[in-house]
Amino acid sequence: MIRALWSRRHLVWALTRRQYDLRYRQSVMGLAWAVLAPLTTLGVATVVFDRVVRVDTGGSSYAVFALAGLVPWTFLTTAMNQGVQSVAIAQQVVTRLAFPRAALPLSMIGVSLVDLLVSLGLFGIFAYTFGDGIPGTVVWLPLLLIIEAAFVTGIVLLGAAVNVFARDVRVAVPLIVQLWLFVTPVLYPLSAVPPGLRRWFDLNPMTGLVETFHAVLVRGRAPDPALLVPALVGTAVALFAGTWYFAATESRFADVI
């Protein structure tokens, strides 16, 4: 599957571009939506966690802190929501043309990555306007993004393949992602989690990853390897399971879709 995909990598690119062209083709706001999605969440979160609950962000502006978590989280949300249904909605193409099916979910991840870059730009503006700028530890950012992208790719491949057979996935994913947000320290710091719950939080691969985004983008601290272990294990498991299941079932997509 991987070799076939590599030889058709231009297809992934073409589909990403098409998806991008399409998304904003008939909209007035265009690319602004890539910024508006994290901004609205940020607005609500600021009211709840900064005014109502008052979480301790360790001295940094809450908006900057929360946005550092929302940047990777929005990527996960859009990539999963779009990626999981990418094969099933391309029914026409799948039943008529032979091409590596994984190009469909991967192109959705590609689109989400472009959005991610836009929201990173937004974060930069926020960091310099409301916070203390971007610390030098930002050099760790590419590594974190690679880990997250690999993790999301694994989950999306698995979800997209299962969704071909059981469309329940498409309905379940937004719900799961929504609940996942509450149990991941995106809008609040990991330090706000009571010690009794910590070990449960550590089972969540995204906990350490998002916390590390906070660390390198806001607090100016290098990644804590211990925090990243669950993320790396989760990434390995997701990537293996997703690739294996997708490769094992993709030859049947055209028959059941």
Partner: protein, 407 residues
């Protein structure tokens, strides 16, 4: 070169259990299949049964058969859209499958944008496509609409774009499924002409169509599929004649058989048999020799008790039922009762095509007593003349000479 060895394609029908079984990844699926073969094969349907074919490089193969015969499944298996349940398919060369001209097109994208995606889906990169874009737009005759969203295109324009991109793929094996039916006649001719040049350049073609005329002109060999098995595999003209005859019979099964029924349906045109009654045709035989340009012999047995004199006629309709031409006899003395007459058409003035003879008996007052469309097809093979497909079905017997020739 395409090699198809003992290919069986099984689809699982129904929902519920069938769906669950599909979800199992391949190794597990095989394991369970071996453990519970009976349970495993329930609710399944074989679209292809043990089909073997070898298509050499440069060959043009037509695939015909009734709906549900497995034609499209065969094409999908060759294209790699779906995988054979059992058996093996090996192909060498770049394959392009044209199962649907518009697949992958998005109405909100422009013609140019769609062309890039469509080409990428077929394996052609952006740079390669960019260098041929003008050629494609020109072939599709949509140059001035290249940057217009596809939703403003007419159906014909979209279809033209779809075909035009295929011409840019440099495919070595082309699989075409019933797609030339779209678009206007002019563009269809252009497509056929391109396919001719593609074949002349050594391209391999597998062509699925219900349009027997197209199949005949595009292929030299035909595979006739029926319920997933190869019914016949041979020279186009031979297989086509038998297939056309068999399909006519199939349709006949639904038309009334007895003479009484026929009389009840008198004058209802379009049926295979009609007439005013009072005389009837018992049997008709048609002999056609294999040689191009040779003639046709017809023998008609009749039963005309009440008539002393009658005219006979023979005519031809094409696949779509359009009347092509005919001949009527002068009034002939028939000494009451039954008898037989013969008719010889030599040479047969019909050009390349599939035709069905119509025979009739007419009383001297001009009333058609019995008229009968035979279920035996007359196939006129491709003659190789310069006219090819154009200028319709009638061969005009012309004598040519150079100017100044004293004759």
């Amino acid at each position: 070169m395409i090699e198809i060895e003992n290919v069986t394609k099984t689809y699982r029908v129904g929902v519920g259990r069938a769906r669950f079984r599909e979800m199992l990844p391949s190794p597990l699926d095989r394991l369970v299949g071996r453990a519970f073969p009976r349970w495993w094969s329930r609710d399944s349907f074989d679209a292809l049964k043990d089909v073997s074919l070898a298509i050499p490089r440069g060959a043009s193969l037509g695939v015909i058969g009734h709906n549900g015969a497995g034609k499209t499944t065969l094409l999908r298996v060759i294209a790699g859209v779906t995988v054979a349940t059992r058996g093996r398919v090996t192909i060498s060369g770049r394959v392009a499958a044209l199962i649907d001209l518009l697949v992958g097109f998005h109405p909100d994208l422009t013609g140019r944008e769609n062309a890039y995606v469509y080409a990428a889906l077929h394996g052609l990169g952006r740079r390669a496509m960019a260098s041929r874009m003008n050629e494609v737009l020109e072939f599709a005759e949509i140059m001035e609409f290249a940057d217009t969203p596809l939703k403003r295109y007419s159906a014909g324009m979209s279809a033209r774009l779809g075909f035009a991109i295929i011409t840019a793929l440099d495919a070595e094996v082309l699989l075409i499924d019933e797609v030339l039916a779209v678009g206007d006649a002019g563009f269809q001719r252009k497509c056929v002409a391109w396919l001719d040049s593609y074949r002349a350049a050594g391209g391999t073609l597998v062509f699925v169509s219900h349009n027997l005329g197209l199949v005949r002109s595009m292929t030299e060999r035909i595979v006739w599929l029926d319920h997933g098995t190869v019914m016949e595999d041979g020279r186009t003209a031979d297989v086509l004649a038998r297939y056309a005859t068999a399909s006519e019979r199939r349709q006949d099964a639904t038309t009334p058989a007895s003479h009484d029924d026929v009389e009840k349906l008198m004058q209802s045109r379009g049926l295979h048999r009609w007439g005013a009654g009072g005389a009837r045709l018992e049997q008709a035989h048609v002999w056609q020799s294999d040689e191009i340009g040779s003639g046709l012999e017809v023998a008609i047995n009749y039963d005309a008790d009440g008539l002393a004199e009658a005219l006979f006629c023979i005519g031809f309709v094409d696949e779509s039922g359009r009347e092509v031409g005919g001949a009527a006899s002068p009034p002939m003395k028939i000494a009451g009762g039954s008898g037989a007459i013969r008719c010889s058409i030599r040479p047969l003035p019909l050009r390349t095509g599939v035709y069905f003879p119509v025979v009739g008996i007419i009383s001297p007052d001009g009333v058609v007593r019995d008229r009968w469309r035979l279920d035996r097809a007359v196939v006129v093979p491709v003659s190789g003349s310069a006219l090819g497909e154009t200028f319709g079905p009638v061969e005009i017997p012309a004598v040519w000479s150079t100017a100044g020739d004293p004759s």
